[in-house]
């Protein structure tokens, strides 16, 4: 093969290689969906100073693609305690569910790929019964584990009504990607509070 022909092929080969690499999105952009992320949203129309007490479900609800189970209090303790610590640090007081708490907190852990599941929660209502005072963060799918911490307003709860008012929630996602130590997972709970400085009360 002549030198000129070789060079021509070389040029065409290089050109083709570069053209194929000419994609809009850089490599690894899909991996963002699988990394650990903390996403929070609160109701900007309420004043948290009007709330003082909360009660928290002692167990985490775990939803897989096959079923819904409730983890035991001992399995859930580390994470529930971390939420309690943060709530207490923000000025809220934990009370028993029978003492008419202002907020109810529940943690749901999704292990399935898609989150379109119906579940019955600790506070006795289902996903579709919530009223979001804001536009909830929308996800089309999850592929690597998601925990959702929900803060429900029980002060405005009307007995007999299926509507619940969600004032704050935190999504922690990417829990099944790679390996995360307990310290890292507990840090994500702290971070959820850190990035919501509005969630605090001075009510006595």
């Amino acid at each position: 093969m002549k030198m000129k022909t070789k060079l021509l092929f070389l040029t065409l080969g290089l050109g083709l290689t570069f053209m194929l690499s000419c994609t809009k999105y850089p490599p690894q952009s899909e991996r963002l969906l699988e990394d650990l992320a903390i996403i929070t949203q609160y109701d900007t129309k309420i004043d948290f100073n009007n709330y003082k007490t909360y009660s928290i479900a002692a167990s985490i609800i775990k939803i897989t693609s096959k079923d819904t189970i409730t983890l035991t209090p001992s399995e859930s303790a580390k994470f529930i305690n971390q939420i309690e610590t943060n709530m207490n640090n923000r000025g809220f007081t934990k009370v028993a569910p029978t003492e008419s708490p202002d907020f109810g907190i529940q943690v749901v852990y999704y292990q399935n790929t898609y989150v379109y599941a119906y579940y019955g929660g600790y506070w006795g209502y289902d996903w579709y019964g919530y009223y979001y005072p804001y536009y909830p963060v929308y996800y089309s799918s999850y592929s690597a584990g998601l925990a959702n911490i929900e803060l429900v307003d029980l002060k405005v709860f009307q007995p007999g009504s299926s509507t619940r008012y969600l004032r704050w929630n935190a999504y922690i996602r990417g829990l099944l990607t790679g390996s995360h130590s307990d310290a890292e997972l507990l840090h994500t709970i702290d971070q959820a509070f850190v990035q919501t400085p509005q969630l605090k009360t001075s009510a006595q």
């Binding site: 030198m3 060079l7 000419c22 952009s29 992320a37 903390i38 996403i39 949203q41 900007t44 990035q195």
Partner: protein
């Protein structure tokens, strides 16, 4: 900026001195030449704040036509992309009460197109150094990806690109050669994404290409 022009000036003076000393060798001045090149971009200034790492993801095609001895005019266009993944950062949208802490991907891809005037100091020689100035524009798309959130904006701009480099033929009479160029690019492009505000994006580019010469 001053440093770059000083370097360009020193380069030009050195090459002119070399030209005066070089003995006459056989060769030819091409009527024109075309180069397909691979480009590595080094974002500078505000652009470096946006994506703080060089990117070899780029290519381009250029052509130059000799108008008279040493003086050439032509074109240059291509495709470049700079990108980087940043570790956990917190992004907030206060009016929606929303906050996200996650890794984020920032990238800009661009389509540059320029008219070029070049001066080759010894166009008939095997190694032919040149200085050039490109004047034209870019189409740039800036993107910020946080989880499934994909925020972007696009801008057209005006750009100036002074460049130094050389064309090295693979033999005194070869129609094939390599071109290596190094340029500084100034644009009127800007980034106004989320909390990033950058103006007059600038970058350095290293071009390595294969050239075809026409007699």
């Amino acid at each position: 900026m001053k440093k770059i022009f000083s370097l360009l000036f020193i380069f030009f003076v050195t090459l002119t001195a070399l030209k005066a000393q070089e003995p006459t060798l056989p060769g030819f001045q091409p009527a024109s030449y075309y180069t397909f090149y691979w480009n590595t971009a080094f974002p500078m200034g505000d652009f470096n704040d946006w994506v703080s790492q060089p990117s070899p993801a780029g290519f381009g095609f250029s052509g130059r036509y000799f108008l008279q001895k040493g003086l050439a005019a032509g074109f240059d266009f291509g495709w470049h992309r700079v990108s980087k993944i940043y570790d956990d950062e917190t992004f907030t949208i206060p009016d929606k009460g929303l906050a996200i802490t996650a890794e984020n991907y920032r990238f800009t891809w661009m389509i540059p197109f320029q008219a070029v005037v070049a001066y080759h100091m010894i166009p008939e020689k095997t190694i032919s150094p040149y200085v050039s100035l490109g004047i034209g524009g870019d189409y740039m798309e800036h993107r910020l990806m946080i989880q499934e959130y994909d925020i972007y904006e696009t801008f057209w701009d005006f750009s100036l690109t002074p460049e130094v480099g050389f064309l090295a033929r693979f033999g005194a009479f070869s129609e094939w050669g390599a071109q290596i160029g190094f340029n500084y690019k100034w644009t009127t492009n800007r980034i106004e994404l989320y909390q990033t505000k950058s103006e007059h994006l600038q970058m350095l580019n290293l071009k390595v290409g294969i050239s075809y010469l026409i007699r």
